[in-house]
């Protein structure tokens, strides 16, 4: 049997390959027989076949074997890529996924017979029209001025090329055209081979080398050359061979093997001229190791401690200086030096580990194209799904949480946003809607937008709906500005579609989406224009482990408010506080702000009258509250630590952090705090 670790490595790899298959079958569907995509699919299927056979997962091995066979025919051009064929491939892929679930123990026993039969059917349908357009089988059409030098590479060839690249060689497709009037093609070809052998090594040729050297080719042939020479020199050398009428040298750029999500879109081959510039980047191969996330988390904790110790050392140095002063000048200086160096190293270490925890959002985004395709098909809609910025990196914790809300936003856009093709045509829009998913950085945040050009949302309708559902009284609804009205969709119990569709209306509403996003310190906003479209903007922190916080004092203890929720701080005189029923409020710029005392929430004694009170104004969604504290201490970067399983979830607290002096400060959970005093909200609305 295999160890758990081996199985888990296998499963990770499987997941990765399934993703690669998904992406590339989509490309295949979009672009027909894209050789590059086919190659990727073939390679992925081949890998799965190999490793599943080794691991003893026979069903998976035989399924991938059939997939591979079918792909081989596609690759050779024996079978055209068609819609139904792609559907079969997707069906096979889904079966593969369920087989994976079966291994994990999630699924019931899976029957692969049906899919295998289908795959075989296609294969049998295949070879009949063998004569039609097999690429690479017709080198006679070679025309060096156009870029036709690209051919097929076998996996073995790629291996050889990779090895050679490491040794500093470059691989080129060299296409040679011989004057059609040439009488001694075999001799010319022999000379070409001779010349090439002087500058490098020929590892492959089309047609095969024996055929070429015996003159069994049309007007041209091509070879794969490994060389350290400049491609231009290769070309001019070949041009010296008489009756060679054209030479084209094209750099072979293998698809990057890792990470799959980052594969350079588009060309795997580049014109020779550009090759020289890109050379340095190409030779560099990315080396990676898999690391258990837990280990990274532990490292992060350790660094946190180091940072705290550094702060303590600084303080100690100060005290030391005070106490022993001038008498120990050198010592103090040395100690300060050590402390500051330690600080630098700790800072760098922290940054590097943070980076190690980051993953490209491609991890999440890559799942979407397939989902959008299937959904659009189901809904009978046409859609161009554009994804941008999938290389944007963010903390893996954030990545884990962000998937579901995004799925929901995308589903909504497809289901409610984008109109059916006929309706769009009637409205003078393109039949296919545009759905754009984009990630980008903004300062310390990542911004993800989901944008559609569908029917948009009408604030008036949203108001009416909210009143009808009893979520709002008519007056309050009418007072709302349009942007505020749009935010109604985030209210619990609000859904704009009366009939619940099985796609968007599966019991989760936009309020859940917002909940998810806010739980990780994010913000979601919506802008919509009726008839033009809707944009959802999700703003997320890059990491969850470290946040900037406003530190406040209450009695002799410190509390931290995450800065994302702090709108402003104000100082008020006790006289400015008014009472509405039993609740305290103040007027800020003409609006009523409900107040709570931190000492009440956290059951601390209030040390009575003060001349001035400090109020931290907090915002969650559209709700605002003011929290009265004793003192404002300023901003601080803090490492969030959990209060542990024993205490579990403590109301109004999201964790704790360790301060420079080793003391513990509690972190206020602004969301649950605002929620808790939600009673006052009615006062707010009435006032």
């Amino acid at each position: 049997m295999f160890s758990d670790e081996e199985v888990s490595v296998f499963l990770d790899e499987l997941e990765e390959k399934i993703q690669v298959l998904n992406e590339n079958i989509l490309v295949l569907e979009r672009e027909g027989g894209n050789q590059e995509a086919l190659q990727e699919i073939f390679r992925a299927a081949h890998t799965i076949k190999g490793s599943s056979a080794v691991m003893g997962y026979d069903k998976m091995a035989s399924l991938t074997h059939e997939i591979e066979n079918l792909l081989d025919q596609l690759r050779k051009g024996l079978l055209p890529v068609s819609g139904p064929l792609v559907d079969t491939l997707f069906a096979a892929l889904d079966t593969l996924q369920t087989l994976r679930d079966e291994i994990v123990g999630k699924g019931v026993s899976v029957d692969i017979e049906q899919v295998v039969a289908k795959l075989r059917e296609w294969q049998e349908a295949g070879p009949a029209p063998a004569s039609t357009g097999a690429p690479g089988a017709a080198p006679g059409q070679l025309n060096p001025s156009a870029v036709t030098s690209a051919g097929m590479l076998e996996e073995v060839d790629e291996e050889v090329i990779r090895d050679a690249e490491i040794k500093g060689y470059q691989a080129y497709w060299v296409a040679v055209e011989i004057d059609p009037g040439c009488r001694m093609k075999s001799v010319r070809a022999f000379l070409v081979f001779e010349t090439l052998q002087q500058v490098g090594e020929v590892i492959k040729s089309e047609p095969p080398a024996e055929d070429i050297q015996e003159g069994r080719f049309d007007t041209g042939f091509r070879v794969v050359l490994l060389t350290r020479e400049d491609p231009d020199r290769v070309r001019s050398l070949l041009m010296t061979v008489s009756e060679v009428s054209g030479v084209d040298v094209t750099r072979i750029k293998l698809a990057e093997q890792y990470p799959p999500g980052k594969a350079v879109p588009g060309l795997r081959e580049e014109k020779a001229g550009q090759a020289a510039r890109a050379e340095h980047a190409e030779v560099k191969t990315i080396q990676t190791v898999r690391v258990d996330v837990q280990k990274l988390d532990t490292l992060m904790n350790l660094v946190g401690e180091l940072v705290i110790d550094r702060t303590r050392l600084n303080r100690f140095a100060e005290i030391f200086e005070e106490r022993f002063g001038a008498g120990s000048g050198d010592l103090v200086e040395t100690m300060n030096e050590i402390a500051s160096h330690l600080g630098q190293v700790a800072g760098d270490l922290q940054e590097q580990i943070m980076k190690a925890r980051m993953l490209p959002v491609a991890q999440v985004f890559n799942r979407f194209p397939r989902m959008v395709r299937d959904l659009a098909q189901k809904l009978g809609k046409e859609v161009d799904f554009i994804v941008e910025g999938h290389e944007t990196e963010l903390d893996r914790n954030v990545i884990e949480v962000i998937g579901d809300p995004l799925i929901h936003l995308i589903r909504n856009a497809l289901d409610h946003g984008i109109e059916p093709p006929e309706e769009r045509a009637r409205l003078g829009k393109a039949r296919a809607g545009v759905l754009k998913l984009k990630a980008s950085y903004m300062e310390n945040h990542i911004i993800i937008t989901v944008q559609d050009d569908g029917r948009g949302m009408d604030p008036a309708r949203l108001r009416a709906k909210a009143v009808e559902k009893g979520l709002l009284d008519r007056e309050a609804a009418e007072r709302m500005s349009d942007p505020e009205a749009l935010n109604l969709i985030f209210m619990p119990g609000f859904s704009t579609v009366t009939e619940v569709s099985d796609l968007s209306g599966r019991g989760v509403g936009m309020d859940i989406v917002r909940n998810h996003i806010e739980q990780i310190g994010g913000v979601v906003e919506v802008v919509s224009t009726p008839g033009v479209g809707t944009v959802f903007t999700v703003k997320l922190p890059l990491t969850l482990a470290i946040i900037r916080a406003l530190m406040v004092e209450l009695g002799d203890e410190q509390f931290a408010f995450p800065l994302t929720n702090v709108l402003e701080t104000i100082s008020v005189k006790p006289g400015e506080i008014k009472k509405v029923k039993h609740n305290e409020v103040i007027l800020v710029r003409g609006r009523v702000l409900p107040l709570v005392r931190l000492s009440d929430i956290f059951e601390r004694e209030d040390d009575g009258d003060k001349e001035r009170l400090f109020v931290v104004v907090l915002g969650v969604g559209e709700k605002k509250i003011g929290v009265i504290v004793d003192k404002l201490l300023g901003e601080l970067e803090i490492v969030i630590k959990s209060l542990g399983d024993y205490l579990g979830k403590v109301p109004c607290l999201s964790g704790a952090t360790i301060l420079g002096d080793g003391q513990v400060a509690l972190i206020v959970d602004v969301r649950s705090l605002v929620k808790e005093i939600g009673v006052e909200e009615t006062v707010y609305a009435a006032g």
Binding site: N515, G644, V650
Partner: protein
């Protein structure tokens, strides 16, 4: 009279023995992680009454409970002898405030007797037994029950209000 060696091949447990409201208690040494001096405890609001707060144990935040409060025993003044016994129970690291830690004792298993239904206001469910060593009565506590049972309910009640 009874020292561990006298009992020949009989098995024995090592116990950390401490004082709580004038009584002597013991817990299995295997669950004790370390014993530290009293330090400033950050109170955590809205937790069960016996949870004193949290402390920073070398970068880790751990909860600290007051055993006197847990058993509704008379509260003793915190003195220089007060200690926090850090225990590892069921995967959680928890600190317990005690009045003083006296010693580590070897307790032959055959000197442990079943607990009476109630002793010094503590129900027998929370006890492993009592041992009489050198004419001292040592009450052996069942930490798992003490930390998790009933409190668990109380902790959950408090924690109910999750989003």
């Amino acid at each position: 009279m009874a020292k561990g060696e006298n009992t020949g091949g009989n098995r024995e447990d090592q116990m950390v023995v401490f004082q709580l409201a004038e009584q002597t208690y013991g817990i299995d040494i295997a669950s004790v992680y370390e014993i530290i001096r009293m330090e400033k405890i950050t109170r955590v609001p809205r937790t069960p009454h016996f949870v004193e707060g949290v402390i920073n144990l070398r970068g880790k935040i751990i909860p600290v409970i007051d055993l006197c409060k847990r058993f509704n025993l008379p509260l003793a003044e915190r003195t220089g002898a007060s200690r926090i016994i850090v225990v590892d129970v069921a995967g959680n690291t928890i600190g317990m405030i005690v009045d003083a830690v006296s010693e580590v004792l070897r307790v032959p298993l055959d000197s442990i007797e079943p607990p009476p239904p109630m002793i010094h206001g503590i129900e027998s469910a929370y006890l492993k037994g009592i041992a009489i060593l050198d004419s001292k009565l040592v009450i052996l506590l069942n930490l798992e029950k003490i930390l998790y049972e009933h409190e668990k309910n109380e902790l959950q009640e408090f924690g109910l209000e999750t989003a």
